[in-house]
Subunit: 268 residues, 2 copies
Amino acid sequence: MHPFDLALQLTPTGTDTYEARTTPDYANMVGPFGGVTCALMLQSVLQHPQRLGLPIALTVNFAAGVADGPFTITARAVRTNRSTQHWIVEALQGGEVVTSATAVTAIRRETWGASELQAPSNLPDPQTLVRLPQGHRLPWAHHYDLRWVQPQNYAGFDNQEHHDSSSVQWLRDDPPRPLDFAALASLCDCFFPRIFLRRHQAAPLGTVSITTYFHADEAALAAQGDRYLMGAARGQHFQSGFFDQSGQIWSHDGRLLASSHQMVYFKA
Amino acid sequence: MHPFDLALQLTPTGTDTYEARTTPDYANMVGPFGGVTCALMLQSVLQHPQRLGLPIALTVNFAAGVADGPFTITARAVRTNRSTQHWIVEALQGGEVVTSATAVTAIRRETWGASELQAPSNLPDPQTLVRLPQGHRLPWAHHYDLRWVQPQNYAGFDNQEHHDSSSVQWLRDDPPRPLDFAALASLCDCFFPRIFLRRHQAAPLGTVSITTYFHADEAALAAQGDRYLMGAARGQHFQSGFFDQSGQIWSHDGRLLASSHQMVYFKA
């Protein structure tokens, strides 16, 4: 079984409730990698017998560190309309909320469409790029293959302040795994905290809240398969202990699959 | 009393619960203007005796139309840490959830800071610009003074498709009102749905989920007072009945106060 599927395992324990468990594969500095937590919150909706349609929007709030071991997830469909459904999801450990989330699922219909975001273009083949070594001591980073295109030659923590936090990269699960909504939710949290690209120094930090909008449907996920995805991210505003950043994930051939935004706590 | 303060009135009815009421001042096509609903969800947190700190992040999900009249709001502090606090807020009408929200509040501390978003510059004085007439038949639009800088001479619904949905505008409450967090939450929903700027034709639509990140502290709000704010917004991706758009609100002198993102349902 792929380590991501192992991490996503949810055992129903009652109406709306599941037991989940952290796995060592996706351990972060403290607790599990946030992306996998996002995927689990979404998975509790995807796996729910009452689910209508596919994910449109997901907001995950990291309320406290998740300790290694089991925790429970409660997913409630608080409103079901004809074509949209609204969810409130809570993860609890020791009786206390560690993560909260809301999700919207919907039945999509063909309409007029357009995109105003430019996908990165003319990227070098990912196989010709060096895989990112930073953070590789953390288990979760072993399970994402990140290959930066820009900034070139990211020097890590050299304490040189930069004025642009934007990055462009190839990324995918390692080992490769066919893309699905849960994986996409997790990949949206793979962008480095932008303060690292600004200040090139270590800083205590943690995502407080992340919102992901899904533009992909099942056909787009199937067309992507397990190929490398294109990703781009940029910081917006850093002030008084918090900053926000936005990122996008495109298919290998430049179709926007998800856009994501997060607010991050930091000390500096 | 300012109509916005009237719309924000919450009567505590128990631990964590309030009674709210729609007001005709902010009526939209169906139900109240979504910005005021965002403000009310946030207000239930701001007014809560257990609240710690000031707003950092707010996600509001519009699950169903709110009918004219009373409704109840429940605001639960699901986790309180040393410097951050996590909230789940639900609005109910006739026993059913009509709006759900999560909010994060926090005590901010001075840190290193920077901004990567450029504020609009060299805007003409708002008093020299024509106030936007579109939508003025809707009551809520009477209570926002919107003056567009770009696109110039927005022609409304002339059915001419455009390729850029971005806009820059001055905006403030009407009558003018000193800025606070609730007003800022509402102003973040004042940007026109971007599909109107792309297709210049009417379309049934509604915001499904909106997330706002607050960069302003109380000093920044006080410095702004009731002056015009600068706003900019842009659509990202339109597909299969949903599109996302992002917007920013700056102070009169170019300080970023909030960034906001939303996913919108549409028919076209």
